[in-house]
């Protein structure tokens, strides 16, 4: 059985790309660095769009990056049903690219927030949550100024009905409350999937929550899920 490969795209301004590559390797996969000007994903099994400030986040977060040369390959990868994960700025890019519903705007507080949060898993039917169960609570850090998830009410209703909400901000015991919402996200949404479930974006940083020596390990299940889905192993 060959080692699953996960491409991590570096845009000008990405700054969590190396952490993502490191975590993929630490969890047993092979990380494949890809540049934003590349036209393919080097035949990788999955792709991660990492955190940072791609193209300076000028105009809107992720707006210019959504049209980077490599994004054609990401669209093809997504359309083929293969796993795509957007973390923080990567989530913003996937929304701008139209690969995920909704958008991310300035936090309601207008402040950059950086702290640990708890996420309730809402569905295990994605490649990134298949080893979890709905209702599980993961502790993962956030660090963003523009993480308030918004969409039109009709879009939100559809996303809920199709079980595309993947993570919600919650209390440590899994209650979805206003106090647990760090940025004003509508319906406490921290992460969503596309209709097919293979494209997922979230504002929190699972790649910063894997090594028990430096904090919580709530990010581990996402990478374990991804790698297990790539080797076809049962969870």
């Amino acid at each position: 059985m060959s080692t699953p490969t996960v491409a991590v795209i570096t845009f000008p301004g990405s700054n969590d790309d190396r952490d993502a590559l490191r975590v993929v390797e630490a969890m047993g996969g092979r990380g494949v660095p890809v540049w934003h000007g590349d036209h393919d994903l080097r035949a990788a099994d999955a792709v991660i769009l990492p955190g940072g400030f791609a193209y300076g986040d000028y105009l809107r977060t992720g707006a210019i990056a959504a049209f980077a040369p490599v994004m054609d390959a990401v669209r093809e990868h997504a359309a083929a049903g293969r796993p795509v994960l957007g973390i923080c700025n990567g989530f913003q890019i996937l929304c701008e690219a139209g690969l995920l519903p909704g958008a991310l705007i300035r936090n309601r507080s207008l402040r950059f927030v950086h702290r640990r949060v708890h996420l309730r898993v809402e569905t295990s039917l994605t490649p990134f949550t298949r080893t979890t169960e709905a209702g599980d609570v993961l502790e993962i850090p956030i660090k963003h100024g523009e993480g308030q998830y918004v969409a039109e009410e009709a879009t939100l209703d559809r996303v809920e009905a199709e079980a595309q909400v993947v993570f919600r901000y919650s209390t440590p015991s899994g209650e979805v409350t206003e106090e647990a919402n760090p940025n004003g996200a509508m319906r406490n949404i921290a992460g969503v999937a596309n209709e097919a479930g293979n494209v997922v974006g979230l504002m929190p940083h699972p790649e910063h929550a894997v090594d028990p020596d430096v904090g919580p390990t709530g990010g581990q299940p996402l990478f374990a899920s991804l790698l297990s889905s790539l080797v076809g192993a049962d969870a």
Partner: protein
């Protein structure tokens, strides 16, 4: 023929505009108690080189719709167009 466009991008009505709210909240402290509904947007200026006015306007509209605004959260409209001499 070059024409200069001004394009206005604003957050959709109904979406809370945190920047507008913060500006609004500062006004009473400065003595204005009769100002409300402050919204913050942005203006983009650009020059379009095209044969006809229709072509230029069409290009500006496409740029506005495809890149300058995100239709999920923003409205966009052309404020003005003038010939560049």
């Amino acid at each position: 023929m070059k024409r200069r466009f001004e394009v206005l991008v604003t957050l959709k009505e109904g979406l809370l505009d945190p920047q507008g709210k913060t500006v609004e909240d500062a006004l009473p402290r400065m003595g204005w108690t009769n100002v409300s509904d402050v919204r913050v947007g942005k203006v983009v200026e650009m020059t379009v080189d095209a044969g006809t006015e229709d072509e230029a306007r069409s290009t500006a509209e496409q740029v506005a719709a495809k890149l300058l605004a995100n239709p999920v959260i923003e409205d966009v409209r052309i404020l003005s167009m003038e010939d560049v001499t």
